[in-house]
């Protein structure tokens, strides 16, 4: 990974939530890096720590109960964790922006969509209210919504259109990094196709790097060029699209592929991964996937495997690789 156009570098990031039932280790010693113009897919099931990681980057985690225990997050060479509140505010929305999952609730119901987009623009550029509203209308055209709809309220738009507005808002200030947390999960499949198509076009046009969080490997196959598989707060496998889809090595990744129904597959056999997600308040000592791993051996139980680079750019965290 060339150092010079390294956009994002996360070193040994650990985030805990201290709740009444005990300390939840949401993210454990995570390492990740991304260069400019890249689209990274962050794949994992509920409780894998995807959202916690990106909220950590944006420093949007509510301090009680969340706590960033250790680690650094370098963005454009500067450590975001050291930034002041004011500096972070100028980064959010300008350098890094974020889209949330459910379009139904991520827009303020009592403000027109035009005003909400204009607000972002005015936050980071010193221009008049009228001018920022016009710019908001052009943004809406970009995401495929007629300009006049800027005066509408969120409840007057369909789910798909609301998600387009959210995307327009996120890209309004042409950020370097766009974080999309399950952007299309809540949409119907035909609308999802429309929105993904539009997103791909805009990302190419603005040359924005993207972190795409999803649990749907189909979407990852279409949109991402690098993929990280997360399980119980750690990245267990990282590589390019080819590495993961054609040469997945980690048992959890292989298990995921085995249990996803695919409409093009001939046979109907699904081999599920046995057992359940680990309880975050008492994670297993060694490899987190040990209790559900078909290939588990003795050393997996009490020794956490190191991250091995099995081929150029393809990392796996497993003893048997």
């Amino acid at each position: 990974m060339e150092q010079k156009n390294l956009l994002l570098k996360i070193k040994d990031l650990t985030i805990n939530y201290n709740t009444y039932d005990g300390i939840v280790k949401a993210v454990e010693g995570l390492n990740l890096s991304m260069s400019n113009g890249q689209t990274l897919g962050l794949v994992g099931e509920t409780g894998a720590g995807k959202t916690t990681t990106v909220k950590g980057i944006m420093r949007l985690l509510p301090d009680p109960p969340a706590k960033i225990v250790r680690g650094e997050i370098y963005f454009d060479g500067e450590n975001l964790l050291k930034k002041s509140k004011k500096e972070m505010r100028s980064i959010r929305g300008k350098q890094i922006s974020m889209i949330f999952q459910d379009p139904m609730t991520s827009l303020n119901p009592v403000m027109t969509v035009g005003d909400q987009i204009a607000e972002t623009i005015r936050l980071h550029n010193d221009i008049s209210k009228k001018q920022s509203f016009e710019e908001a209308c052009t943004m809406l055209e970009q995401v495929g919504i007629k300009g006049e709809r800027a005066g509408d309220y969120p409840h007057q738009l369909s789910g798909g259109m609301k998600q387009r507005v959210v995307i327009a808002m996120a890209l309004a200030c042409n950020p370097k990094l766009l974080i999309a947390d399950e952007p299309t999960t809540a949409l119907d499949v035909t609308i999802q196709a429309q929105v993904l198509e539009m997103m791909k076009k805009l990302i190419a046009q603005y040359n924005t790097s993207v972190i795409m969080i999803t649990h749907d490997l189909g979407i990852v196959a279409e949109t991402c060029d690098y993929i990280a598989i997360m399980y119980a707060g750690e990245i267990v496998e990282y590589g390019t699209k080819q590495h993961i889809f054609l040469n997945a090595k980690h048992p959890y990744t292989k298990g995921l592929f085995a249990c996803i129904p695919d409409i093009t597959a001939e046979d109907n056999k699904l081999t599920p991964i046995e057992g359940l997600m680990p309880d975050p308040t008492n994670l297993p000592k060694g490899c987190k996937f040990y209790p559900r791993c078909p290939m588990a051996g003795k050393e997996c139980e009490n020794e956490n495997p190191a991250n091995k680079e099995i081929e150029n750019g393809h990392f796996v965290k497993c003893h048997f690789v």
Binding site: D188, V189, A193, V220, T264
Partner: protein, 315 residues
Amino acid sequence: MPEKLLEVKNLKKYFKTKQGYLHAVDDVNFAINRGKTLSLVGESGCGKSTIGRVVLRLLEATAGEIYFEGANIRDLDKMQMRKYRKKMQIVFQDPYSSLDSRKSVYESIAEPLVVQKAFTNKKQYAKRVYELMDTSGLAQRFANAYPHELDGGRRQRVGIARALALNPSFIVLDEPVSALDVSIQAQVLNLLQQLQDDLNLTYLFISHDLSVVKHISDMVAVMYLGKIVELANCKSIFQNPVHPYTKALLSAVPIPKINVKLNRIILEGDVPSPINPKPGCRFAGRCRLCSSVCKESDPVLTEVDRGHFVSCFNK
């Protein structure tokens, strides 16, 4: 000829709203053979869940007949209906709201038995509840647990155990796995298939996820805005879809494979409002092959191939 467990004829369900009548289900016909699974697939607002509830008479149909084991259950009064209820059950999508948070797992599963007074003493109830927990893969130590202590997968298994309590012959599965994680989803799907084989159950499987539907169903009905636009066995729907909407639907599903050529059909615009719909094909506004006839009269389900029905004018 395999026995038709459930047959539905010209089923309609309209909801009264301030702006007029909402045509949730508009003249639907289908039948399910015993031991088979018919899937209703379609996007939100197409009326699939409504059909699921109307078939069980949880919602009263506006018109049409529902034949269950040959008898039209719409003519039954409350008492007779209670007898038929034993044979028909339902499993819901959201594991959180389908279980009463104040009742323990044991009580939720035992409830249908208690309601239908299946047994006389407590010991028999307990034995039956444990049997059900074993068949639906729930460890017995959860009998005392409460819904908020279980994860999604286990809560769904309680829902299934409850549905099996009166050993029904027909179960409506309303999006049973869409709220679950992928790995858990696979476990529950396998369980449902295995139960179908062991207990010769008949499923009406409702979902918006085409890959899950392909995996589990024998027959598939694709719905759009209250109407069935295409009905066929599973293989022919996925191999050669005929209706333009089915084609667009299938092309939109993301495939977990790379270097696969995607000839994706992107539909324009949004689903029209189901309130006081205009005559003509509901898909006309968004269909590439739309012609003048599509706009005037309603297309009817006609047999295009053996057992393959489509409701479209240009076949």
